[in-house]
């Protein structure tokens, strides 16, 4: 009898959890549905945003892809290396700050963090000058460098706190076992920190993939210019093409969804990795 009650409560709980989730999901989906619906509407139908599309106007996707094709490839070439490098460099900074006490450590941490507060619109001109001086204007390399530099604060901040949850005693033990200080980072810390690294990967990928500001200022040619710069051209001052804009947006989201699925697995494997601690 007592057991029956327990089950009823359990079932009720599950029902409540699912109800809440489904409700939230439906609400979250409404704007997405509007977005996708608009992406398959012809210009004549767009004047009625909330009417269902009468025909599938795939032309939007064709036009969007024609305009952005090269840009998508450029964005991939900018984003993938930039995410890897910035996460790694952020982890470089995070490791000593999380695992070692030394004079000035909090000052260094604060300096690294101060980068978070820089209003990006205003630094563009000096940044442009630096990038030109380095000879990497209008190149993938220039974009990697900028995204890495501006990714350092968030990556260091997050990973430093994440690494700090891994007890320092673990490092001491490993070092006693003959592991080198650098070796501990590459062989153990990066593995233990998988959920954190995966989270940083996702956040950085999203930030870099969607960057318009740096792409607009630091690239010039079709061969380098990221997709976002093209995407922004569907809304102009005296003309708009909402159908194509939304189609382009859907195209731009897809790689993010794929990436999210990939790193979701890292979350889960990170959970197993957590068992190493005990």
């Amino acid at each position: 009898m007592a057991k029956g009650d327990f089950n009823a409560v359990r079932v009720l709980k599950r029902v409540l959890i699912y109800t809440a989730l489904v409700l939230a999901a439906v609400l979250f989906m409404i704007p997405l549905v509007v977005l996708v619906m608009t992406s398959i509407k012809g210009p004549r139908e767009i004047v009625n945003i909330f009417a269902l599309p009468e025909t599938m106007y795939w032309q939007n996707y064709v036009s969007a892809f024609e305009r952005m094709g090269r840009g998508i490839w450029n964005s991939v070439c900018i984003t993938v290396p930039a995410v890897v490098i910035s996460t790694l460099v952020g982890a470089f900074g995070a490791y000593p700050l999380a695992q070692f006490r030394f004079r000035g450590d909090s000052t260094i941490f604060m300096v690294l963090l101060a980068g978070l507060f820089i209003p990006s619109q205003i630094v563009l001109i000096p940044l442009f000058q630096i990038i030109r001086a380095l000879g990497v204007y209008d190149s993938y390399v220039g974009m990697w460098i900028v995204h890495t530099a501006y990714g350092i604060p968030i990556c260091t901040f997050y990973l430093r706190n994440f690494f700090a949850t891994i007890p320092r005693s673990l490092m001491e033990a490993a070092l006693l076992d003959g592991c080198s200080v650098a070796g501990y980072f590459f062989k153990i810390l990066l593995r233990l920190g998988k959920p954190g690294l995966a989270a940083v990967f996702i956040l950085q990928a999203r930030a870099i993939w969607n960057d318009l500001l740096y792409g607009n200022t630091l690239t010039r040619s079709d061969a380098v210019r990221p997709m976002t710069v093209e995407l922004a051209t569907f809304v102009s001052q005296t003309d708009v093409q909402y159908g194509q804009l939304m189609a382009a947006t859907v195209i731009s989201i897809l790689p993010m969804i794929v990436m999210f699925f990939v790193f979701r697995r890292e979350f889960i494997s990170g959970m197993l990795g957590g068992a190493v601690k005990s």
């Binding site: 999901a25 509007v34 470089f92 000593p96 978070l116 507060f117 890495t148 809304v235 969804i257």
Partner: protein, 297 residues
């Protein structure tokens, strides 16, 4: 002793790259902005004119500046509370070993990946006074008299933009909290369950402390993005009607590039930088110290 030297050398090398990057790409541009904030410059001319503190004194005397500051304060309050709470709640729900977990996770994350121009367009439609979903819904349930001009009424426009921002940015908190939850050692939770702790107790005494690293980051990042908020406002209302939805970043942009006063724009940027640092840094410093005490006893 040799170990200590090795530690120093390795850690020094590790810190070198990020520090150099910061110096070149951030300290230098910010220094430039500070210098520029004491000048008048139209953004085009080869010459700048030194004006001393004039930009700052004009700025602080400007009603528009204080409107922007008070809106930023509202954004700060909003961003610290709502996206964080909603992200945590959704992460906890998803973590209950449910079916379709990946589907839900992805769904809540998708809005965060959408480019601001598109987010703004979709929400402008949802908020449209005649055909928009919100007003249509109110009409449908017989509350037509409560219809609002969501982004066109100065008294509520900022809150409407915040609501669309909630949809847009909750994915951020969600990702960090899921990653935080996944890093809680299972044994900890299991032993708490065996001890008969209710969910609320487990949450308070096991999960919440373990989620501290995520929370610190979520709160700090929310705070910073609240102070720097720009894209959605710029695309949805451009700071209007009048100056109703203006924040420091939109003001900085307008002054620098629409009004050709880049010296003034830099003064706003420097003010924004200092404000962010003053508000956020002590919090980060304090919480990060706490974190160490918890982890390392």
């Amino acid at each position: 002793m040799r170990l200590e030297t090795e530690k120093k050398l390795t850690f020094g090398a590790f810190l070198l790259i990020p520090l150099v990057c910061i110096l070149v790409f951030m300290v230098y541009p910010i220094g430039k902005s500070i210098v520029l904030s004491f000048h008048r410059w139209d953004g085009i001319s080869p010459e700048t004119t030194y004006v001393g503190l004039r930009n700052y004194s004009r700025l602080f005397a400007d009603v528009r500046f204080w409107t922007a500051v008070s809106n930023n304060a509202r954004w700060l309050a909003f961003s610290l509370a709502l996206p964080t709470a909603l992200g945590l709640a959704l992460a906890l729900l998803i973590d209950q070993k449910i079916k379709g977990e990946s589907l839900f996770q992805t769904l809540f994350f998708i809005p965060y990946t959408i480019t601001p121009v598109a987010v703004a367009s979709v929400w402008r439609w949802l908020y449209e006074p005649r055909n928009g979903l919100f007003n249509k819904f109110l009409q449908l349930i017989g509350l037509a008299k409560y219809r609002q001009i969501w982004i066109g009424d100065p008294s509520i426009a900022t809150y409407s933009i915040m609501f669309s921002s909630l949809w847009w940015t909750t994915g951020f908190a969600l990702v960090l909290y899921i990653s935080g939850l996944r890093n809680i050692p299972q044994e900890l939770l299991e032993s708490a369950t065996v001890d008969g702790a209710r969910f609320s107790q487990r949450f308070r005494f096991v999960m919440l402390p373990q989620l501290l690293p995520s929370t610190i980051v979520v709160l700090a990042m929310s705070g910073i993005s609240a102070l720097r908020v720009f894209d959605l406002i710029y695309s949805l209302t451009g700071g209007g009607p009048g100056y109703a939805t203006e924040v420091l970043a939109t003001m900085m942009f307008d002054v620098s590039f629409n009004r050709f006063e880049q010296g003034m724009g830099s003064a706003i940027a420097v003010t924004l930088f200092v404000l962010s640092a003053v508000i956020i840094l002590p919090y980060v410093y304090h919480t990060s110290k706490n974190l160490e005490d918890i982890t390392n006893g």
